[in-house]
Assembly symmetry: C2
Homo-oligomer: 203 residues x 2
């Protein structure tokens, strides 16, 4: 197995944190998205959607989409469990993972793409639209603070893939999309400090 | 069990088709998104994210997010299998489901939201941005035609949740977001005719 990775992009980081939490040693190979190395004919033959991360299996086949790769690794290496121990818990964790991904993570991504210099020339930017997405992401942070409440983690009492998605979304949003972590959002701040102190946060 | 549903919205249709393919009889209760009935205090207590569909379990608890609900129903009613029989197949189907959801389905949704009269006053519309999303969705249809190739279905040789997401995305995109199904995309047209002729398509 190996993983095609790009350390500066948020979706590959989701998988790296997952792999680190599992304690797995899988080799990484860097593919530079900024210079289009993910869209060479060779890479598109491996993943016609062109995205990263990408898992290469020992039989030469490939799996794309970070969450799909995580689910495959979870089946091969069930412990520590990150995606649910029974069908009910699996559904609750998937619900939370999707809420974060389609809410905070997606809004932060669109804010970044439509306002950041890095995306000039890569797509037609609409900075005013980007500003609405920045505002939407900020509202998602407030909502997440309410939803975390007194829970230790996003989906309940233990660290799961939903925390990984939220951690990557918050770090990406604050580092790349101009989001601020308001200290008044005490639940979110406490949760962020806890996940950031795990060794996997450096992945 | 019951399902809070809204027949005019695409995500609830994903679940209705899934339920129909499983042959399940679960009662539906309509919640009108257009008049904000999904965001009453009573409904937000059931689903703080405010979206539909929403599954109510017999113990009074709730599960949100269409794909999470589908996965839970798949565990309760494994046949006919719609999400993969082993970990490898599950990952491949999830990969395809996500590619369609984050590509075609999301782009069609943004085209709709930023160009359709229905969304005037519901969000700040950027019609020029909507046009870029219409173009992106059109490109996704071309890509999907290539990817289907000679395969009977999106993820391989049988109907899965990835076909449901694609079917809903295509129907929603053509009916609500101005997408056209180009007859020159013969693989896509053949696939769309096949999935549309299933009884579940009426769900």
């Amino acid at each position: 197995m190996k993983i095609y990775d790009f350390t500066l992009a948020p979706n590959p980081r989701r998988l790296r944190i997952f792999v680190a939490e599992k304690g797995l040693k899988i080799p990484y190979e860097q593919v530079d998205i900024f210079t289009g190395k993910n869209r060479t004919p060779e890479m598109l033959a491996k993943n016609p959607a062109g995205g990263l991360p990408l898992l290469e299996l020992d039989d030469g086949s490939h799996l794309a989409e970070s969450v799909a790769i995580c689910r495959y690794l979870e089946a091969l290496h069930p412990e520590p469990n990150l995606m649910g121990k029974d069908s009910r818990e699996q559904a609750v964790i998937e619900m939370w993972n999707r809420r974060i991904e389609l809410g905070l993570f997606a809004a932060a991504g669109r804010a970044f793409q439509h306002t950041n210099e890095l995306f000039k020339g890569r797509l037609k930017q609409f900075p005013e639209y980007g500003a609405t997405q920045h505002e939407a992401a900020t509202q998602q942070l407030q909502w997440l603070d309410e939803q975390i409440g007194n829970k230790p983690f996003i989906a309940g009492d233990r660290f799961t893939i939903a925390d990984i998605t939220a951690e990557v979304a918050v770090d990406f949003g604050t580092q790349m999309a101009g989001l601020k972590l308001d200290p008044a959002l005490k639940n979110l701040a406490r949760w962020h400090k806890a996940v950031s102190s795990r060794p996997s946060a450096k992945a």
